[in-house]
Amino acid sequence: MTERELVRSAQKGDDGAFEALVRSYEKRVYHLALRMCGNAEDAYEVAQEAFLSAWRGLRFFRGESSFSTWIYRLTSNAAIDFIRRRRRQGGGESVSLDDEDIFLEVADPAPSPHQQAERLELREAVAQGLAALSPEHRQVLLLRELQGMSYEEIAACLDLDLGTVKSRIARGREKLRKYLLASGNFSSYLPSNLTEKEG
């Protein structure tokens, strides 16, 4: 069955079809939730909430946007809501250094050991640096970087205008960049002739 057919079937209450959709999206949804929340436990809960919202809301899903856009919206909103609730309860956000998920190896085209160590560090730092962003900035940046959505798709997904998406992503990147500079993570990554700053 195509995704469209699965969605139509699930809309009529076919939970088998819905299960196929969940299985197909679980990794992407979980990953987005993970980078929004910063730890595996919260991400797991948020991912479940997102899928349950999808199940309940399916009959209202009109198929004007793609299903993926819709589920990412539910996921990132569920994450933002979760983060807000946590803050109200007085718990800080945790981006755990011990979190294995953040440091997961990905197949690399055989870089040198030195290069490999550097890249690992930057990847870790980026994941940690996400916590320095507001949830709303994190949201657009992750939809762009993790889900590969275009600015237009993100605008439609979150009901924002294009200019807002563009500037939020730029500001999010800028904040992340400053975080990475402050934590000394760029110097090893760029050719040396560019690291001398002007003025």
Binding site: D15, E26, A47, Q48, F51, F60, L104, R119
Partner: protein, 298 residues
């Protein structure tokens, strides 16, 4: 160095391949003369690449856990009542209401206005549980119709009852539905203590200070449920009884957006602002939204 800030959004868009040709030319011209911005560009590309290397394995059995909850919900969902049950319930409703009037004396409008005043807990009606459920169902259906016809907007239930005695039974029934929903809230999670009113709030005060009565928006329009599902990430709560009412806690900001949407589309709802926050308490952040499901829904 300051004027380079205007190029930061362009650089970011360049990383995403979202520049139009004119913007691209402008940026490239600038980068040709500006080492600082070239550095920024390099850093942003490095970040972009780092993102592409992020990955995560799903721990546990996410699909399994989700589907377990989905299937539980499917079972719990109560079947709709058959038409003959509704007719019987409507008859019950009339009898019960008359009975109440007889016991209390005074005009129906007065009693109901009193009954539906803010203190939900003091709404004491001598009905047994079955009758109270029966009252809710047809009245919810009636309120959906009257809601569409008279476009009751932004009034508290007491005002609605006083203004239009014919609809006062539906206002009373709505109040009761909300009370059922809020009871369910209470049993679900401590974090929703903000929604309790009256007696329940006093109990909760002992457990958690800062519990305040909650402004509440309610409607039978399916558009309400649809909007909430699409825009509100939090899981809502379903009423225990047969009415199928659902409720959610939303922020004041989300409420503004919802209200604008409902007003623009001419979708009827009622709003009870629950009075002012008590002295010393923060302004309430949360609004309770109640969707009163009705038989009219397709």
């Amino acid at each position: 160095m300051e004027h380079c800030e205007k190029y930061a959004p362009l650089i970011s868009a360049a990383v995403d391949g979202e520049l139009c040709p004119a913007e691209r030319r402008e940026l490239m011209d600038h980068l040709a003369q500006c080492p600082a911005c070239r550095e920024i560009y390099g850093e942003m590309m490095a970040m972009h690449e780092a993102f592409s290397q992020l990955d995560a394995e799903v721990p546990g059995d996410l699909t399994g856990d989700v589907m377990a909850k989905v299937r539980t919900q499917k079972q719990v969902r109560k079947p709709r009542h058959a038409w003959w049950q509704i007719a019987a319930a409507a008859a019950c409703c009339a009898l019960v209401f008359l009975g109440y009037q007889h016991l209390q004396g005074g005009s129906p409008a007065d009693q109901v206005a009193e009954a539906t005043s803010g203190k939900a807990a003091s709404y004491a009606v001598p009905m047994d549980e079955n009758a109270s459920q029966a009252v809710s169902e047809p009245s919810a259906a009636a309120s959906a119709q009257s809601g569409t016809d008279s476009a009751v907007v932004s009034e508290s239930t007491e005002e609605a009852a006083a203004r239009d005695p014919e609809n006062s039974t539906t206002a009373a029934a709505d109040q009761e539905i909300m009370e059922n929903v809020l009871t369910y809230f209470r049993s679900c999670a401590p974090r929703v203590s903000a929604t309790m009113t009256g007696e329940a709030a006093d109990e909760a005060q002992e457990e958690e200070t800062g519990a305040v009565p909650c402004p509440t928006l309610s409607s039978s329009a399916p558009e309400l449920e649809m909007w909430v599902i699409e825009n509100i990430p939090a899981e809502g709560y379903s009423s225990d009884d047969a009415t199928g009412a659902r409720a959610w806690l939303i922020t004041a900001e989300e409420y503004e957006t919802l209200r604008d949407y409902l007003d623009q589309e001419g979708i009827p709802y009622t709003f009870d602002d629950a009075g002012d926050p008590a002295e010393g308490q923060e302004t309430r952040e949360m609004v309770c939204v109640v969707y009163l499901e009705t038989e009219a829904e397709s």
